[in-house]
């Protein structure tokens, strides 16, 4: 492996880090309230709206956006495109942190937090949620295993020798397992809402939902890598990695294109185009999702100039990431119609505080990790004085 990731050892407490700490504190306050007075005291959830942003964003979107982990390890380690090696570690770190926070989000959302272990012993294999739970549980540990060598290198000495000895020979199993488990639960997350045919809006309710979830997760994997690599290299003033990102997003033309064809084809096949222009919140939200989150960025990506420009590529990838975020929010929240609700759901301040707090914590730990562990490969920019 030609690349050599290293710790950045930059100044840690920047103003941005303080902002993260403020969000983390507000989230912590909301979490304390939730465990003192119950979910109802913090969240706008009721019997008509059992799931809110803690499921729609923290869990469903979190899992989708962590897809950079398995897509890059597939690319660099399984089909052996070693040229992409420098992006694997940061993507792996994001995936590991992402899944950790999916689980933390779940711990806040489920009513009986202390009972989280029960699915290990009580199986209902008819339930898509059972499969999601099992896969997330195993995959989380697979990710920890995959990331262990990085931690070992960071600590060095005997720890490094030990971790290398343990992981080296069997790492390939975990790399493949990571891809297999990801394909399983990314798709099963889409199966989840198929249990509510009368509640989910026809623009999203399709037997193809598992495939759409899987293909959109695969499509968002590399754009997510571009998104965070650009942010990180700007924020830490590292050299940009365009020579990797440009060819990487060429693959996205195909993966996003596949998702687009499936999604649009499904609309025609099920003959639900009539819902597209009825002016409802749902149809508008769908149009934004498809137009700005799928079609526009695809058109941008097929333009070579866009792929070569750092700013334009970042913009296109932001659209793709935003499109997948909106898709998950649409499927779990916007498109969810309660037959008897008297009010519609909008997240409370408390719910937003928890979600924002979790994201801030994730960014905080990411920053901590890249500062002290060998994750990033790009070299520091020469400061032109």
């Amino acid at each position: 492996m030609s690349h050599s990731p290293s710790a950045t050892h930059l100044k840690f407490f920047t103003p941005g880090v303080w902002v993260m700490l403020v969000f983390m504190f507000m989230g912590a306050v909301a979490v304390v309230a939730r465990f003192t007075w119950g979910i109802g005291s913090v969240a706008n959830l009721d019997n008509s709206h059992p799931w809110g942003i803690w499921v729609g964003i923290d869990v469903a979107t979190g899992v989708a956006l962590a897809a950079g982990g398995f897509t890059t390890s597939f690319l660099a380690h399984i089909i052996g495109r070693h040229h992409y090696e420098p992006i694997v570690r940061p993507a792996l770190l994001t995936a590991m942190l992402g899944y950790t926070f999916v689980v933390l989000g779940l711990l806040v959302d489920i009513g009986r937090t202390w009972a989280i272990w029960k699915p290990i012993f009580n199986w209902n294999t008819n339930s898509a949620l059972f499969e999601v739970a099992m896969c997330v549980l195993v995959y989380l540990h697979v990710l920890y295993f995959e990331f262990a060598p990085t931690v070992g290198e960071g600590i060095g000495g005997r720890v490094k020798t030990f971790i290398t000895a343990v992981t080296d020979k069997i790492m390939w199993i975990f790399i493949i397992l990571g891809v297999v488990l990801s394909c399983m639960h990314q798709s099963s997350l889409g199966t989840l809402m198929l249990i509510a045919p009368t509640k989910l809006h026809p623009l999203w309710y399709t037997p193809l939902l598992p495939l759409l979830f899987l293909s959109s997760a695969i499509a968002v994997g590399f754009p997510m890598v571009v998104f965070e690599t650009t942010l990180v290299s700007s924020s830490l003033k590292l050299d940009s990695e365009m020579k990797i990102l440009t060819p990487l997003t060429k693959i996205t033309i195909f993966t996003l294109g596949l998702y687009m064809v499936l999604k649009v084809g499904d609309l025609f096949y099920r003959d639900v185009l009539g819902y597209l222009l009825d002016g409802s919140t749902q149809s508008n939200s769908f149009l934004v999702e498809l137009g700005f989150g799928v079609i526009l960025p695809w058109l941008l990506l097929i333009t070579p100039g866009v792929r070569k420009s750092r700013g334009m590529l970042f913009f296109a990838c932001c659209l793709i990431v935003g499109g997948v975020v909106l898709n998950r929010i649409n499927v779990f929240l916007v498109g969810y119609h309660s037959p008897y609700a008297q009010t519609s759901y909008f997240p409370s301040i408390g719910e937003i505080a928890v979600t924002a707090g979790l994201i801030a914590t994730l960014m905080f730990i990411y920053r901590l990790a890249v500062t002290f562990l060998p994750v990033l490969s790009a070299s520091k920019q020469e400061v032109s004085a």
Binding site: I39, G111, R112, T113, N124, I176
Partner: protein
């Protein structure tokens, strides 16, 4: 990340063979898991007088908390209510335009509670199997398995399960129990059916109740609309309704006759029975990875 190529292909071969063997079995059609001869209740909306005694009976036999406003308070009928964490059943009043000879509008009262579906979506959804469909027709909730994910509430087409949102650590899903312990005993009747003063709620075997409903409709065809709600809705429910007004005028939904779990369960099982697809994928990726690695080795050596 070195790996022994021989072991690699061996493993991949086993995986592939396993996938083939199980893959052929996967195409089993979905089968209903509905009990053959469940109990049920037949609610006759044309008989109900809206006395709310069923709400009271339910509250007492299930030892629920006393209500905020007494059961005798009929002003509650001015608002549309839903079952909640402390009331498993509620009665709502509707004016559908039906009137008597003096043109006085006549109310229709509708009791709602868990329908105890034959193939319940909640049971299919519950990842830990805390919800089960019993042989006697009950959709039963076992709090000791519940983790509080509320997927049952997402799944239920009737929007029945309610949640204790203000209990910080041990909230429960709350819904009509069909008085499971009572009806398990010989001659036992659910609390609501036992107390109903006008026999608007008839308890019995579902098959007998369907016959009875048809008999009533035949005897008095002018009185009833020609629809037994729950006979076919979502594949059939243990609770059945007869009515003298159109069901959609009293907040009953038009529901498909297909059992709701059919599609998601068919997808889950055709993809994941015996884990054939993950095993096959693992096998394929092993081969791909081994080839890529040996290719790299050759390149490095040359």
């Amino acid at each position: 990340m070195k790996l022994n190529r021989r072991n690699f292909f061996k493993l991949a071969g086993v995986a592939g063979a396993g996938a083939l063997a199980t893959g052929t079995k996967k195409a089993q059609a979905w089968e209903s898991k509905a009990p053959e001869d469940p109990f049920g209740c037949l609610v006759d909306l044309s008989r109900c007088v809206g006395c709310r005694k069923c709400e009271q009976g339910c509250n007492e036999v299930n030892k629920l908390l006393p209500p905020e406003r007494p059961f005798a308070d009929m002003l509650l009928l001015n608002e549309k209510r839903r079952p909640d964490a402390n009331s498993y059943t509620v009665v709502n009043r509707y004016f559908t335009g039906k009137s008597d000879e003096q043109d006085h509008l006549l109310p229709t009262y509708v009791k709602i509670q868990c329908m105890h579906c034959q193939d319940p979506a909640c049971v299919s959804a519950c990842l830990v199997g805390a919800l089960t469909k019993k042989e006697n027709g009950t959709v039963h909730y076992d709090v000791s398995k519940c983790i509080g994910c509320r997927y049952c509430m997402v799944a239920c087409p009737f929007e029945i399960p309610a949640y204790e949102y203000f209990d910080p650590l041990t909230p429960r899903v709350r819904k009509c129990t069909f008085c499971f312990e009572r009806i398990e005993k010989e001659g036992g009747v659910p609390g609501c059916a036992a107390i109903c003063p006008v026999e608007a709620i008839t308890f019995g075997k579902r098959s007998n109740l369907l016959d009875q409903a048809r008999t009533r409709m035949k005897k008095d065809p002018a009185r009833y609309i020609d629809h037994i709600y729950g006979e076919h809705e979502v594949g059939g429910t243990s609770w059945l309704y007869l009515s003298d007004v159109e069901f959609n005028k009293v907040d009953f939904q038009d529901l498909p006759s297909e059992p709701i779990p059919k599609l998601p369960e068919t997808i889950q099982h055709s993809l994941f029975s015996y884990l054939w697809s993950p095993i096959a994928l693992f096998g394929v990726l092993s081969v791909v990875m081994a080839k890529a690695q040996s290719k790299k080795k050759e390149e490095d050596e040359s």
